[in-house]
């Protein structure tokens, strides 16, 4: 039976993983780990979940262990954050290159130095282009449901790619919300076990993760490029099937008051929830502003995003990560690139905010919105604004 419980996003994810009946969980149990895997270890210890739980010695090993288990046909899970994700970096490419349907949750946190355990998107943005499907969520319920969708998506035979479910550290990970825990029987009906074409089997020996020379490596990499192209449509289908089963639909993105907006604010994850209030406040003062929250961020469904964004005069893109030495934040660079060859395109302004767990308040987001309107009227003075950093004044 479905059950309504007060859960942190970490626990909401743990319950989803349990009800997906995973076979193997490998995780490094110390900082920067979250309570997702702590709760899962309790489920395994008390017999609620029949899975192999491997407390490994590092995140590099955690992902390596689930790669091995997934290659042998198991349904697997791991979780990490921050430095842990950075330590996994080289293994991320192996998981996608080997086309393994691994699901991993990431409580997004900043990267040292300075040493800081709080929320921003620096960890994930630094591992953005590694062939994983990346979904940013903005509530505990969405995290719970997205993990269930993630197994269905990852294990589709036309996809077979690993999936990251990204959620803001602390702001979401440790915040309790009412969550409808989906009925296990229905979850398993929704995401049944599939037989993959290639798994490790002593009776049918194969080699997985082969060496390839320059004459073949490119072709293997292109297979990942091609599979990612199929993801937006596949996620739409997976989402529709989820709606049939559980009555909730999330889509590939969320738009709020975008249809007549002069300025559209774009933000990932938790900031987007706060921004909704800022949009309401600015609307009540007569500013035509909307909000666009991408859910599927890798791969980017470019035409779908553009169909919403191209109507605006100005895009205010909020990045919770710094691309050091780049042309702006990572989300800004992506949005700018998708419009680069269009003769008519919105102006774009980039706000870097919420670094290292700095609060991004409703008032901050209202101010960003106002700065976007001012730049629209008076001309863009500054393309990338390090919003709220003490000692910098952009005169806006």
């Amino acid at each position: 039976m479905a059950q309504r419980m007060a859960l942190s996003t970490n626990y909401a994810i743990a319950y989803a993983v349990k009800n997906c009946d995973v076979d193997v969980i490998a995780a490094y149990p110390i900082t920067p780990q979250t309570t997702v895997v702590e709760r899962l270890s309790e489920f395994v210890a008390n017999g609620e979940l029949d899975a192999e739980y491997i407390p490994v010695e590092s995140e590099h090993s955690a992902l390596s262990a689930v790669i091995g288990a997934s290659a042998a046909g198991a349904r697997v899970f791991t979780a990490t954050a921050s430095q842990g994700l950075a330590l996994m970096h080289e293994v991320l490419f192996m998981a996608s290159g080997m086309r393994l349907p691994i699901v991993m949750s990431i409580a997004n946190r900043t990267l040292s130095m300075p040493l800081n355990i709080h929320n921003d998107h620096q960890d994930m943005m630094s591992s953005r282009d590694c062939g994983w499907i990346q979904i940013y969520i903005s509530s505990a319920q969405e995290a719970h449901d997205t993990v269930i969708q993630a197994y269905r998506l990852a294990e589709r035979l036309d996809i077979l790619l690993p999936v990251c479910v990204c959620y803001d550290g602390y702001v979401l990970s440790h915040t309790y919300e009412p969550v409808e825990v989906r009925d296990k029987q229905k979850v398993l009906e929704y995401t049944p076990r599939v037989e993959r074409p290639h798994v490790l089997d002593p009776d049918k020996p194969i080699t997985m993760g082969v060496m390839a020379l320059p004459n073949y490596t490119y072709e293997f990499k292109y297979q990942v490029v091609d599979a990612l192209k199929r993801v937006p449509k596949a996620l739409e289908e997976v989402d529709a099937e989820f709606a049939d089963k559980f009555g909730v639909k999330y889509g590939l993105y969320e738009e709020y008051m975008c249809s007549d907006a002069d300025v559209i604010m774009i933000a990932l994850g938790a900031i987007a929830s706060t921004a909704r209030l800022a949009i309401d406040n600015l609307r009540s003062k007569g500013f035509r502003i909307g909000l666009f929250r991408p859910r599927l961020y890798r791969p980017i469904p470019v035409e779908l995003w553009k169909s919403v964004l191209r109507k605006a005069k100005m895009l205010a893109i909020v990045d919770r990560a710094i691309a050091f030495g780049g042309c702006g934040g990572p989300l800004f660079s992506d949005v700018a690139t998708m419009f680069i060859n269009d003769s008519e395109r919105p102006l774009m302004i980039n706000f870097i905010a919420g670094i290292g767990g700095r609060d991004v308040t409703v008032r901050d987001l209202e101010q960003m919105g106002l700065m976007a309107f001012k730049s629209l009227e008076e001309g863009l003075k500054e393309q990338c604004i390090y919003f709220g950093v003490r000692g910098v004044d952009y005169g806006l």
Partner: protein, 94 residues
């Protein structure tokens, strides 16, 4: 280059689904020095067979070790290990 497979002709996920297919990978082209076994000196101790890292030395019906030159990379370990000094490395003319 036309015999190389296209991206959609390859099994996905960097998988080799043909066990033992390294036999198709002829590595003779790596070789600069070729081992030549002098059967007059060979004592059939088979140390060369044991040490060959490529498993390219087989024992023939007459009991003498024979090098499979399709796979021998010319590393010279057999020659170095041979206690009877029966294996000479000869530079190949290209």
């Amino acid at each position: 280059m036309s015999e190389l497979k296209k991206w959609f002709e390859l099994p996905i996920g960097c998988t080799n689904i043909e066990p033992g297919s390294s036999l198709n990978n002829i590595t003779a082209g790596w070789r600069v020095f070729t081992p030549v076994i002098d059967e007059k000196k060979c004592t059939k101790c088979y140390l060369c067979w044991a040490f060959c890292p490529e498993n390219a030395i087989k024992i023939a019906d007459d009991g003498f070790p024979k090098t499979d030159y399709r796979y021998c990379k010319g590393c010279g370990i057999c020659s170095n290990e041979c206690p009877a000094k029966a294996i000479t490395m000869i530079r190949q003319e290209v």
